[in-house]
């Protein structure tokens, strides 16, 4: 699907070196001290560029500290096509697992946000480009089904430069339909689903659950769209407008509700959930009414 954006380099964790090292901000090229950067939730203190944030780091930064429980971690990836390109799927998958310490691109947890119980999902853009194969699709689907059963809101952080995962062929494509159907059924419970788009969200992830949120939020500067910019540029043989497919561009074109700085994600989502459901968050800053 919509693979291949030159800007994907910006999300690779190679920008974030091991502790004690410096890293270059992809936004302003300033050298950043990694320990500082982590304290800033991987946001550049000079230009505000939102750097890549891994799934578990995101979950820790977003949810209350206590009572985070991973769900569906037992689902493991198979190789139904016995897919082999220049390298085999199995090889690519194992290498990615070893590098990231994750089993798959999606992590689903049950936890609390300022005391509000909810289900949170993250697709990690660094795991096979955050692409959706059977396991990612199944985990997202189960997240909605479990939330419906337990009457919990859902927040999904999507990050996927890869869209539907090529290595699982048509089965990946079907995950788009499966997750979208799960959102449809979840929608009937009257519970909120907030889609939180991070850099980058393209292709089959974008054209399924990510764009089906009751409310769609995006991080500043995130690349958002169906077809990646490089493919559009090549196919159409045209220059792209400035800022094309950034979250800000998409917001101006009416595709998303709001841009939220990473430091505000807890407060903003808690307030939205509170306004939607009437549940009071604990310790959320209220909007001041003049």
């Amino acid at each position: 699907m919509a693979w291949g954006s030159r800007r994907l380099g910006a999300v690779q964790p190679k920008n974030v070196q091991p502790e004690g090292q410096f890293t270059k901000c992809p936004g302003c090229a300033e050298m950043l001290f990694v320990k500082d950067l982590e304290k800033q939730l991987n946001v550049c203190r000079h230009c505000g560029h939102h750097l890549y944030m891994g799934a578990w780091k995101r979950i820790r930064a977003f949810l209350d500290e206590d009572g985070v429980e991973e769900l569906f971690g037992e689902l493991e990836t198979c190789d139904p096509l016995e897919f082999r390109a220049a390298r085999s799927y199995k090889e690519r998958l194992e290498e990615c697992q070893a590098r990231t310490g994750m089993k798959e691109a999606a992590v689903i947890v049950r936890g609390r946000l300022k005391g509000i119980p909810l289900i949170v999902g993250v697709t990690d853009a660094d795991f096979l480009m955050g692409s959706m194969g059977s396991v990612v699709g199944e985990k997202i689907t189960r997240a909605f089904e479990t939330a419906a059963g337990d009457k919990l809101p859902v927040v999904i952080f999507s990050g996927s430069g890869g869209g539907a995962r090529m290595d699982e062929g048509i089965l990946s494509l079907m995950q788009m339909a499966k997750t979208s159907a799960a959102v449809a059924h979840f929608g009937r419970t009257g519970l909120p689903y907030i889609s939180y788009i991070t850099n980058p969200t393209l292709g089959g992830v974008s054209a399924s659950f990510a764009f089906l949120g009751d409310i769609i939020v995006a991080e500043p500067g995130a690349l958002v769209g169906f077809t990646g910019p490089r493919v559009i540029k090549q196919t159409m043989r045209t220059e792209l407008p400035k800022g094309f497919q950034t979250a800000e561009f998409m917001c101006e074109h009416g595709q998303i509700d709001m841009i939220v700085h990473r430091k505000d994600m807890r407060d903003t989502i808690a307030r939205i959930l509170s306004l939607l459901t009437g549940k009071e968050p604990v310790g959320a800053e209220r909007a001041t009414i003049a």
């Binding site: 139904p80 090529m166 048509i170 339909a177 499966k178 979208s180 159907a181 089959g204 769209g225 559009i232």
Partner: protein, 340 residues
């Protein structure tokens, strides 16, 4: 019609060279016999028999990439050809009521074997002008919005939906992105999955990724024998995973995109056989075969109570995918749609 049409179309695929040569010989003999008033009847029928055998043999063992070429054949019947051949009546309905009328998607009220239906289909266009107007069957968001608008209409009036899929993919353009290509497709997937009317989808040619799926969620998925359905075009896959566009044949094989593969995965319910040489060699027969299959499935679905139908549609999607469950003592493999 089929033979002369096949020759006049003069569009042989690279692997049909042998057929082309035989056709040339047959035509020469026919001309010769006409001009000189000689009888080459026996030679001609021998050659014709040989051609028939060769075509049968060739098309029974097409490689995945060859199937892609057949699915993209410029003379392959398209949505409007099928509508014209299968339906007694068709009233086209246009526009998405928001922005435009996307010619890449055709929608309308129709009657097929006496049954009232809503037709939704992607149309590529035949000549240059029509292809330009249709963007060669690559829909913009307006196409998906038009489709879902007419499908809601179908639900309201209790009409089953027949969706004919034939696209290389959703249109990759600036305007398409500005107007929400992702959202348009996603919304169709969401709404089609719970629409309270039967939906029969047919892959008639190219099934290009999310662009195809955007009108492809339903109760049945039929697939023409030589159509393909893939998460990405073989060329795109080759460019990304081999870093080489020329590896498209390998990519086509690796992606498991043929009707037989998809049947084995349980994604496709029924393969609709094509005439020897592909649908374009005998469009009339193809339309007849397809019509019979569509009508049979419409009648089956009509007997299922609506709640049960919608629940079954979710179950159908719910079971797609292959994974295994890790357990403390070993690993249990779930055998859902496993490839042969």
């Amino acid at each position: 019609m089929s033979e002369s049409n096949a020759f006049n179309s003069n569009m042989y695929l690279p692997f049909e060279k042998g057929l082309h040569e035989l056709d040339v010989q047959i035509r020469r003999l026919e001309e010769l016999s006409k001009r000189n008033n000689m009888d080459f009847g026996e030679e001609i029928s021998n050659l014709a028999r040989k051609r028939e055998e060769m075509a049968k043999e060739l098309f029974s063992r097409l490689t995945p990439w060859q199937k892609v070429l057949v699915a993209r054949h410029p003379a392959r019947p398209q949505t409007l050809d099928y509508v014209g051949a299968m339906c007694e009546e068709f009233i086209e309905l246009r526009g998405d009521r928001c922005f435009a009328d996307d010619r890449a998607v055709v929608t309308g009220l129709a009657r097929i074997a006496g049954r009232r239906i809503m037709v939704v289909g992607q149309h590529k266009g035949r000549d240059v002008r029509e292809r330009n107007a249709c963007n060669s069957g690559c829909p913009h968001p307006e196409g998906y919005r038009k489709a879902i608008l007419k499908m809601r209409l179908a639900e309201k009036f209790g009409l089953p939906i027949v969706s004919l899929i034939d696209t290389k993919g959703a249109f990759p353009g600036i305007g398409a992105e500005e107007r929400g290509q992702s959202r348009a497709i996603a919304q169709n997937l969401q709404e089609m999955s719970v629409l309270r009317t039967p939906i029969v989808c047919v892959l008639i040619g190219e099934g290009g990724s999310g662009g195809a799926l955007g009108i492809g969620v339903g109760d049945r998925l039929l697939m023409l024998e030589h159509a393909y359905y893939s998460v990405i075009t073989p060329e795109g896959c080759a460019a990304i995973l081999w870093k080489d566009h020329e590896k498209k044949e390998e990519a086509a094989a690796a992606l498991k995109l043929t009707s037989a593969d998809l049947k084995a995965f349980g994604v496709v319910d029924e393969i609709v056989p094509e005439p020897v040489g592909g649908a374009h060699r005998d469009p009339k027969q193809m339309a007849e075969t397809l019509k019979a299959a569509i009508v049979r499935h419409l009648d089956e679905l009509a007997r299922i109570p609506m709640d049960q139908l919608v629940a079954a549609r979710y179950e159908r999607l719910r079971k797609t995918g292959v994974w295994r469950i890790a357990q403390a003592a070993g690993v249990e493999v779930q055998e859902t749609a496993r490839a042969k």
